[in-house]
Symmetry: C2
Subunit: 459 residues, 2 copies
């Protein structure tokens, strides 16, 4: 009997296995697809690879200001795609080598929990095997959602997974359905690699979620538009048909578009068909867990996209750490705490947010005072010629403590952790202001964005 | 009578003026040279501008992996130099506009303190004027040090200030004297813009200071060498002469070099000849201050390079904040605290350090345990094809608390603040490990570098 069976080797499963191995547990891993899950193979990692390329293309226009004169240039997406594959292969291989070096059995197939201590493996080669484990972690992730009237066919209508797995050359025109995170990220990549992109978004702003301030949506909308991306808000696809190798689309706003492909980017749903023992799920299919991440069987835990928490790789990793702590320390279990989850998006500019913003604070009845500073006057951003964007810090008006913030612009996805750490440590505006940041650094935006609250207004 | 007279408008003076204006003080500023001081005009800001260019040149070799094919390219330092000037002009102008909009009198000339409340301005136009102030802040900075036997002539032997102010085109060959911060930064810039660079360093490692671990010196030495920079350790210039437009140099190790120029980069000394009232100085010329940054006159404060604290722009800014607090709150003064000053260097790779390292900890009798993680396995660094370098975290072995750390590689100068914040908040290894970092982000190196100490070793 294994100490632990992990079903699904994405970020959650990977993190759990690392901790288990360090603690000397005897583990088995079940994975029906590639190691690394959706994150490594079709989402976070390849997206950021291609976004790095897109952003370098964007930066080329300023290279002459550093005396770098490019006389002749061509851009070829398929090469980027090929190296994107190399990159994720390298990372997958590292993962595999680690498991091999620790002699961890890796079962390639689907795992079905048939008893609270038994997992039936329906192997990819057709055979079956039953494993026994004291504990089980379900980290089976999620799959793309669909829309009622739009049917992915892998050719004219594709999912974000199809995009990463198969789309080795880009079409001339693309209609992206959904102006959420993936929609905004892939639109930027395609736009910089030469695609004419259209985005339809049901809601009245892109990135329409409480954790993204409308100020950000507006800013990014304008920047995408400047790049030539046409965005239709409050709009849906009424109908579409394929004709002569083109997709003809009628939008709810009366406009008609002719595009090469439709990219469906409308979120994801839990991949929770993993058991025959009535593990409890909610009405949307998420596996129900208690604050210790236990399912209705106390030895079976679930982490990541398959439970109803933010669908983010680092949330899965965090949950895996908490689940492992609780497996290892049944008498001193700890609860999950989702109060400080950093969130980042890589579009025209980097976007990141953590803790409260004006909207979430208002909903909780907290009076806020905000501090703003644009990258335009940050010397490091100016030196890098990446001086667009801003930071906004959110302070509790009564206590002057930092309770959250967001950043649009260079380095946002790293700088956000400084806000996160300062919120965690209950910094006041004055502490944020007087903390010593290297000069010149992007981090200095925090000293300036806290000036008004900490010291007083300049104007 | 002014509330405050600030002598010297570098980072310290600038920061003091910002706080003073926000508090409604009536201030006057004295500056004999350009606004922004050495930092803005000849050091931090232009160096980072040119380093950005150098690093983009370095990155060009990987552009094809993003499908960006550059067929024909030329590199021209003088254009970079020109735009560097534009950049610092823009920032200087922002500063000037701020002072103008607040109607702050700006006296262009040298300030000499002739009485505890009086500053004589020897104006650049030859005239003189006496200002009266309740308080005075001396923030007059520093000037380049010289070596006994090497005499800058602005042509064959230049200082780092000459380099930034005047060197619009680069020579074919350069001998850099001093392998400290400026030496390592300028060597990288010159090497990438096509100069054959030699470095002589008296000590037996480059970056030889307690706050830089020898592990870093060794790593950067090897990287510079790979770029074609020849470094002579434990070596000095025995003699040199100019002949036929070349500098012929004999080194103490017996080697002879023929170079176009010598760049003297051997540190800086305080610019403290600012008074006729016996403000106390130490034997090296630094103005003496108490922990509240007061000189021997309680209404006269000194901040920045002119006092004996780390010669860094952000230390000057921090000191200016403390001095201003003490001017504004004479009954609740606060002391300076130099325990968490981030330090960063922009050479072949970024380098940053904060708090204790193995050496400083040992000197204080602290037993340490260290955590290491290379960027090679950080997905974000891999996506950016900037996967060289590493982080090392320093934990107190007894308490498992983080007490410092250093980073070599992408983003080091920003990521260092996360270490700084975690040290300040007394994070244990387990807290560093379980903190939620965005995935994929460079910041995740902290979760992995703390794994061994927090959870246990993998091998």
């Amino acid at each position: 009997m294994y100490d632990l069976i992990i079903i699904g080797m994405g970020p959650g499963g990977y993190e759990a296995s690392l901790t288990a191995l360090r603690k000397g547990l005897n583990i088995a891993i079940v994975e029906k697809d590639k190691l690394g899950g959706n994150c490594l193979n079709r989402a976070c990692i390849p997206t950021k690879y291609l976004r790095t390329g897109a952003h370098l293309i964007q930066k080329l226009k300023d290279f002459h200001k550093y005396g770098i004169n490019i006389d002749s240039l061509s851009v070829d997406y398929s090469t980027a795609w090929k190296y994107k594959e190399e990159t994720i292969k390298f990372l997958r291989k590292s993962l595999l080598n680690l498991l091999k070096s620790k002699k961890v059995p890796l079962y390639k197939g689907e795992g079905v929990i048939i008893d609270k201590n038994k997992v039936l493996i329906k192997k990819n080669d057709g055979s079956e095997e039953i494993l026994e484990g004291k504990h089980i972690i379900i980290s089976t992730g999620s799959i793309p959602s669909s829309l009622g009237n739009i049917h992915p066919d892998g050719k004219f209508v594709i999912t974000t997974e199809d995009y990463m797995d198969k789309l080795q050359t880009l079409p001339k025109t693309m209609l992206v359905v959904g102006g959420g995170v993936s929609g905004c990220e892939l639109s930027y990549i395609m736009a910089k690699y030469g695609v004419k992109v259209y985005v339809v978004e049901l809601k009245d702003r892109i990135l329409d979620t409480d954790i993204i301030s409308p100020e950000i949506s507006k800013f990014i909308h304008r920047k995408l538009k400047n790049l030539g991306v046409d965005i239709f808000l409050g709009t849906t696809i009424k109908e579409y048909k394929v004709e002569d190798g083109k997709v003809l689309v009628s939008l709810s706003n009366g406009e008609n578009l002719e595009v090469d492909k439709i990219l469906l980017s409308v979120g994801r749903k839990p991949n929770s068909l993993v058991d025959e023992i009535d593990i409890e799920k909610d009405e949307r299919g998420f596996i129900k867990v208690n604050p210790y991440l236990q399912t209705n069987y106390e030895n079976i835990f679930a982490v990541g996209d398959v439970i109803n928490s933010p669908m983010l790789a680092h949330v899965a990793q965090y949950e895996a750490k908490i689940a492992m702590h609780n497996i290892l320390n049944p008498d001193s279990k700890i609860s999950v705490d989702y109060s400080l989850i950093p969130f980042a998006i890589f579009s025209v500019l980097e976007i990141a947010s953590v803790g409260e913003n004006e909207i979430t604070a208002q909903k909780k009845g907290i009076d806020v005072e905000t501090g703003y500073f644009p990258f335009m006057y940050n010397e490091k951003a100016v030196d890098e010629i990446e001086n667009e964007g801003f930071v906004r810090l959110i302070f509790d008006k009564n206590t002057q403590r930092l309770i959250g913030g967001y950043i649009v612009g260079i380095g946002a996805s790293e700088l956000i952790h400084e806000i996160s750490l300062m919120v965690k440590s209950k910094f006041t505006a004055k502490q944020v202001h007087e903390f010593i940041y290297f000069h010149p650094s992007l981090s200095e935006i925090f000293a300036y964005a806290s000036y008004d609250t900490a010291i007083g207004k300049l104007f």
